[in-house]
Amino acid sequence: MAAGTLLVALVGYVALLDRQIVRQFEGRRWDLPAQVYARPLEIYAGLRLSADDLQRELAALGYSSSRAAKTQGTFSRAPQRVGLVTRPFQFWDGAEPSRQATIRFDGGTVVDLADSRGKELPLLRLDPPLIGNIFTTHGEDRIVLGPDNVPTLLLEGLKVVEDRDFDRHGGVSLRAIARALWANVRAGGIEQGGSTLTQQLVRSYFLTNSRTLSRKLREALMSVLLELHFDKPDILNAYVNEIYLGQSGDRAIHGFGLASQFYFGRPLAELQSQDIALLIAVVRGPSYYDPRRHPDRARERRNMVLGLMAEFGVITPAEAGSAQRRDLGVRGTARNFASYNPSFMDLVRRELQADYQEEDLQTAGLRIMTTLDPRIQALAELRLTEGLETLERGLRKKNASPLDGAIIVTGTQTPDVVAIVGGRNARLKGFNRALDARRPIGSLVKPVVYLAGFESGRYTAATVIEDAPLTVKLDTGKTWQPQNYDRQYRGPVPAVRALAESLNTPTVRLGMDVGPKRVAALFKGLGLETAPRPLPSLLLGSLELSPVEVAQVYNSLANGGFRAPLKAVRAVLDAEGKPVDRYPLKINRAADPAAVQELNASLTQVVERGTARGARNWLPPGLVVAGKTGTSDDLRDSWFAGFTNDHVVVVWVGADDNSPTGLTGASGALPVWARLVAGFGDAGYESTPAAGLQDVPFDFTTGMMAVAGCGDTVTLPLPVGTVLPPNPMCGSGFDNLDGFAERGIEWLRGLLN
């Protein structure tokens, strides 16, 4: 009776375990964190890219250098030539096959591309760098591999080292246990586990490392049951994807696919025998044999693995011998992993939150294609850190609050966000100043004020405005008397000079004339969520914006008056590479394109003749840039926002506690901006010809007609038909009096119009 009850209980227990393990194995949906990719590098003739730039990109992608690049993921390098075999990749707009190509350079420019037969290639797209994963905070991360994607060498090596009877046993191996016991007795401690690969898999499923006898029994029973239900290749493939192989912060590295990326920065398929042997070595103790922290230990075990592989005929003894002499070849740091670009990832997450559940991002294996340019991102991080250190050294007040800052870089005709730095310690997650620090933008407002003026048709860049004290009556009944920063007044000045020298009183005059309402509405059109309050103080920058909001406004200016919502995510693919979602380019006309061209040309004068002249110390000679300095009250915030032909860059420098920094836009943010832009290799700002505009020379100081050899002539695109006042300072002698009078009348007529 008792025996019968016992038997029923045992059968019940086994059935329970059976259900558990089968459900676990079949229903096991590995949590696949979303993989986030930077932009793929597109190579074509004329691209500004040096052979060194390309080599850096390839190194970051884990391509290995070889004498003649013949296999996928390898490259060869000559001074002005790079040969390579690309990896295939599934993009949103189709599969990019692996291609062999040779790229020729002339210094900083791509001359041409040819395929393996020497035929010209119009375009070559590399696989995109992986920049991060979105995983649960205590989560497992892995790259799942199908049976076809696992090298035989790995499978054979695993069996030889971990489970020599794998192909024969039924889940547990008595021979292995006996062998392990004997080894342990000899060594006087636990040295060798007798667990089969199946047992290791079961143990991994239930995440226990307990060595109690009942656990061991349960594990053994489940292993036998698993073997009854499933065949060997399935079990082995599950093992390859399941097993724990390392730790990166709070992120657990599971499976050989991810481990290969984690340790070598390359796909598993591209690993050599010594690399595969190292991964097999790590299985036994990812912490104890961590090749980064304990390279000697890891190397010793790797060589032992290679020896076993040779002994059992998986590789030849010669191959083992040469592999044993190789370096570990592990990437120096885990830098490319986890939150490599936390500031940029912030924006990616925020954009995705609108369409995806957090759980999908952490588990569904989505591939997120972003706009990040790793070269620009790395440079921006470096320049901010360096720049802030330099600024702090130069500041007299030693006990002042530490400086911090933010940088955001976008394209000019596209809304692509290519880099974000959220603070001076870019590698730390934390307060993202680029997205979340809202600070008064000071004179960064002025370009929008002048644009409103140009759009109204009543002002051009040459229109003369009075720079003199003025009093503005406010709705509250009070009065406001704006002053210039230097308390000096220059009399009549053309609009472009008022903008370039950031003069307050002409700006307020113009702004009050077109109306703060119009300026506020234009701000909204250029990309702010909500229009700022249309108060007179808006005209001088009593507007708090985050760097990303400033970047949106200046992106619309650089884009010729077209607003395109900034974006970091281009497309989302599923785990199999099928398109799920794409975020298409959308634009809206926000301002008169001709007025914007006139404004942008005026903004080049900020750097040529105005408050940002100092930028010339760092910019390459002749590089034309457009931009504006901004400083808030009491020197609390230092801004520079501007653009080349290729990039819009916004830099903010200030203190987190909002204390005064002693820095103006020109002395704080500008040097950081200029040093950064100098490293881009961009083409200078070039104005697009616009209908209704005509290049006109005039005197920068007075706004009068240009006279050769007299005054400071600047040439800007002005509305066709713009009439300039004659220049009495340069005219002399009676022979020209008639002409002078004529011109004078013409000018008066123009004013009356």
Binding site: R29, L32, E42, Y44, A45, L47, D93, G94, E120, P122, L123, D355, Y356, E359, D360, A364, G365, L366, G411, T412, Q413, T414, G560, G561, F562, A571, V572, D574, A575, V580, D581, L585, P593, T688, P689, A691, G692, L693, Q694, D695, P697, F698, M705, A706, V707, A708, T713, P719, G721, V723, P726, G731, S732, G733, N736, F740, R743, E746, G750, N753
Partner: protein
């Protein structure tokens, strides 16, 4: 499992009504434009004109003097937009293939790739506008037309095509 968890969006094409307008426009944008001459921009007027000391120089010497009352401003100087490069042309061809099978999302993706290479190429903006028109996104078609127009100053052909795209989009 994966796709089930993720919101899938279908962007539906638009019926034949639009197609008439399209046929009109599709003739506008040549698949290859390799025969265009390079840019010819107007020379900057009078920047360094030698003048006797004290002379008064007209700001715009090569143009009729400014109108006193509402006379038509002179037309912008003639120029031809630069041709698209080989990379952009390849992508344009790809886009055309997608358009032929009605896969407008992919077609637009190819043009966006091309635009990252040549962002100031009005032909590409026109093409993207044409695709938006085919999809039935008339507001974006119009915006793309305006962007193309803003980059076509002085090029009579491209200006006309841009204006045609804008007009077609606005009619819808």
């Amino acid at each position: 499992m994966v796709t089930g968890a993720v919101e899938l969006r279908l962007r539906l094409g638009v019926g034949g009504a639009v197609l008439g307008a399209l046929l009109l426009l599709s003739g506008c944008v040549p698949p290859e434009s390799g025969t265009r001459s390079p840019v010819s921009r107007t020379p900057v007027p009078a920047k360094a004109t030698p003048a006797p000391a004290g002379a008064v120089i007209s700001p715009v010497p090569d143009l009729p003097s400014a109108p006193a009352g509402g006379v038509e401003p002179p037309a912008p100087p003639a120029r031809t937009a630069p041709p698209a490069g080989a990379a952009a042309r390849t992508l344009l061809t790809q886009s055309r293939a997608h358009q032929a099978t009605g896969d407008y999302a992919q077609a637009a993706a190819s043009i966006e790739r091309a635009l990252r290479i040549e962002p100031r190429q009005p032909l590409l903006w026109l093409e993207l506008g044409t695709i938006r028109l085919k999809e039935g996104d008339f507001a974006q078609a119009e915006s793309m037309g305006r962007k193309a127009l803003s980059l076509s100053a002085g090029d009579a052909t491209l200006t006309a095509k841009s204006e045609q795209l804008i007009a077609t989009a606005k009619k819808r």
